[in-house]
């Protein structure tokens, strides 16, 4: 028997948050999503707002359990996935 899919918390910040229209949500990712890049492709297909937010997904940054990740990194068992534009602090 396959394990139940992990429920992940997705967090959106700055203009990505504005475009998707939500701050956070809980989702179970489909089995086809294994890398950060897969995740961004999947998100892009979730409707007009997501298509708009993820149109240029190469610039988007992702953190897995609060650590920066590259687009080819595996998502693994990360529970908290944050998606945001390049940072402008300091």
């Amino acid at each position: 028997m396959a394990d139940a899919p992990i429920e992940r918390k997705l967090l959106y910040f700055a203009w990505i948050r504005e475009r998707v229209g939500i701050e956070q949500e809980y989702v179970a990712l489909p089995g086809s999503v294994s890398t950060v890049s897969d995740l961004l492709d999947w998100l892009k297909g979730r409707g007009e707002e997501f298509a708009h937010a993820f149109e240029f997904s190469n610039v988007i940054r992702v953190a897995l359990d609060q650590d920066h990740a590259d687009h080819d990194d595996l998502i693994g068992d990360a529970r908290e996935i944050a998606i945001f534009p390049p940072m402008t602090g300091g």
Partner: protein, 153 residues
């Protein structure tokens, strides 16, 4: 000794330097960097700093620990504000204390350079008339896709 705070309230540099050096006789150099909100002529009324709670402090701590391993730094205090900040107000403080000045200068600069690219904060500009002037573009943005995103209305 490392102290990192992410807060909405303003900070007082003199108080923070005194807290870092209190009772210490081994420190010979304290370098401080303060980042302020710059007005853009008469048009900018405020910055609104969004942040990712938890990760923001964690990334600053990572940078500070790396600096403290790299140079002989005896203490650091880093404070980064979030929320609404008006021109002339303080945004960020980095204090590095060491036996000698080189480590203090280098450590403070290292942490600031890291903060700019890796600490999850985002600045939105608000105009004097209250309208949204968009998100500040990341300076390392050099590819067309990124520019296009950042300049989008």
């Amino acid at each position: 000794m490392l102290k990192v705070r992410v807060q909405e309230d303003d900070f007082d540099t003199t108080t923070e330097v005194a807290a870092l050096t209190h009772g210490r006789t081994d420190i010979g150099a304290v370098a401080t960097f303060t980042g302020l909100c710059r007005g853009e002529g008469e048009t900018l009324s405020a910055l609104e700093l969004e942040h990712y709670p938890g990760m923001a402090a964690k990334q600053i701590e990572t940078a500070a620990k790396a600096a403290m391993e790299r140079w002989p730094i005896d203490g650091m205090t880093i404070i980064h504000r979030h929320g609404r900040i008006e021109p002339g107000e303080q945004i960020v403080l980095v204090i590095a204390a060491s036996r000698h000045r080189d480590a203090a200068f280098d450590g403070a600069r290292y942490v600031m350079d890291f903060l700019k690219t890796d600490a999850p904060f985002w600045k939105k500009e608000r105009r004097v008339d209250g309208t949204d002037a968009g998100w500040v573009e990341a300076k390392e943005a050099d590819d067309k896709a990124r520019e296009r995103w950042s300049n989008a209305p």
